[in-house]
């Protein structure tokens, strides 16, 4: 190597390091998207049971830090996300949707557990609407089973506020759903249990 090659090597090495550090958050966005295809899948719902745990891999912990820093670990809360409906089509506010529950979600109501479903816009923030309504939350008093289904309406063409309606973006855009389960039962905390349980269906309406 001549002196020029040595100098260039010395310059290029830290340049590569700095470039990696600068690009890293964007790489994490890509990895976070990819990580939805790993972890646990149940119909259109996906989650990662390694949130907040030291035993999770360093890459996954970085991706989780990007999208959910400070989130509860899976003993306390399980965060399910949906980007598609139950048929696998991307969620988009050009359509309305019904979220159908034929079974209650398994949280420990005796210990103040509860669940909620929240809509997020394409920018991953809450959706602007005149009612400041962004989610539906359940508590123990609402009975849900195969004879008493719960239907949560996602509507872009809403004209009034309704108890089980969540507004979608008025403009046509992709959106996502978050199903947060606080104090999940033991069956939801393990992969096989989480994969098998009866989670809400997401049905496109028109």
């Amino acid at each position: 190597m001549n002196i020029l090659e040595i100098i260039l090597t010395i310059v290029m090495l830290p340049t590569g390091i700095l470039l990696a550090i600068f690009l890293f958050p964007y790489l994490m966005d890509m990895i976070a998207e990819k990580s939805h295809s790993r972890g646990v899948t149940n119909g259109p719902w996906k989650t990662h049971l390694g949130v907040g745990r030291k035993t999770t891999s360093a890459i996954e912990r970085s991706a989780i830090a990007r999208i959910g820093l400070g989130a509860n670990n899976s003993d306390e809360t399980i965060y399910w996300n949906a980007f598609t409906d139950s048929d696998g089509d991307k969620l988009n506010s050009a359509h309305n949707y019904d979220i159908i529950l034929t079974d209650d979600i398994e949280v420990d109501y005796e210990n103040f557990g509860f669940w909620s479903i929240t809509v997020y816009g394409k920018d991953k923030y809450l959706v602007n609407n005149p009612y400041k309504k962004y989610m539906v939350r359940n508590c123990s008093s609402l009975k849900i089973d195969s004879t008493q289904k719960l239907c949560i309406n996602l509507r872009a063409d809403y004209t009034k506020d309704e108890q089980f309606m969540i507004p979608l973006p008025r403009e046509e855009e992709d959106f996502s759903l978050a199903l947060r389960c606080y104090r999940p039962t033991d069956s939801m905390k393990v992969k096989t249990g989480a994969e098998m349980m009866n989670l809400p269906e997401i049905i496109k309406i028109g």
């Binding site: 190597m1 090659e5 260039l8 090597t9 010395i10 310059v11 290029m12 090495l13 830290p14 340049t15 590569g16 390091i17 700095l18 470039l19 990696a20 550090i21 890293f24 958050p25 994490m28 907040g52 745990r53 030291k54 360093a58 890459i59 912990r61 970085s62 989780i64 830090a65 990007r66 999208i67 820093l69 400070g70 509860n72 670990n73 306390e76 210990n111 103040f112 557990g113 509860f114 909620s116 929240t118 991953k124 923030y125 809450l126 959706v127 602007n128 400041k132 962004y134 989610m135 939350r137 359940n138 508590c139 123990s140 008093s141 609402l142 108890q163 978050a178 947060r180 606080y182 104090r183």
Partner: protein
């Protein structure tokens, strides 16, 4: 040859940077939060209470949740002891103690507190003299501790939830 050496050096640097970033990224993000916390004038051990429900104007964090209120603080490195006073609560409540990488150390949950009277808990951080007795929480954490408190926003039987806050909790260094 120059181009090849430069490309190899650039790629090597890039890979080193990626590995370094993977290991340190969570710490950088928590430190960002800590700097913002201090910039707003809060001290370690002093709670910042987010008293308003999150709405569509909140853009400082992606995917904010609107079913819990938050209170956050940071605790200095040990050895030191704090006393936390928690008012009576009869809805979802949790206090998460995290290290500066966002890994969970310990929780205080509803089962650890009373729903009829105030609960006082001693929190000792790396204090070798601390005794493991009732209402005493020991944190073995060599770095600063990030504390996140969550309270449900609604009463038990209300589907949508109504705004409301329990009495404030207090944290005092002993």
């Amino acid at each position: 040859m120059i181009i090849i050496f430069s490309a190899i050096a650039l790629l090597t640097g890039f890979l080193i940077g990626i590995v370094f970033s993977v290991l340190r990224y969570p710490l950088w993000e928590v430190k960002k939060i800590y700097r913002a916390f201090k910039a707003e004038g809060y001290l370690c051990g002093e709670f910042k209470h987010f008293s308003e429900k999150v709405d569509h104007n909140v853009k400082y964090i992606v995917k904010p949740n609107c079913e819990t209120f938050y209170s956050v603080t940071f605790l200095k490195r040990g050895p030191r002891v704090y006393r936390i006073s928690i008012p009576p609560l009869c809805d979802y409540f949790s206090i998460a103690f995290l290290d500066m990488y966002g890994n969970l150390i310990k929780y205080i949950l509803n089962k650890d507190i009373s729903d009829t009277h105030e609960t006082n808990i001693l929190i000792s951080i790396c204090n070798p003299d601390s005794e493991n007795n009732l209402n005493h929480l020991r944190l073995d954490n060599k770095s600063m501790t990030w504390v996140i408190v969550r309270y449900a926003t609604g009463i038990k039987d209300n589907i949508q939830g109504i705004p409301g806050r329990p009495g404030r909790l207090e944290l005092l260094e002993q």
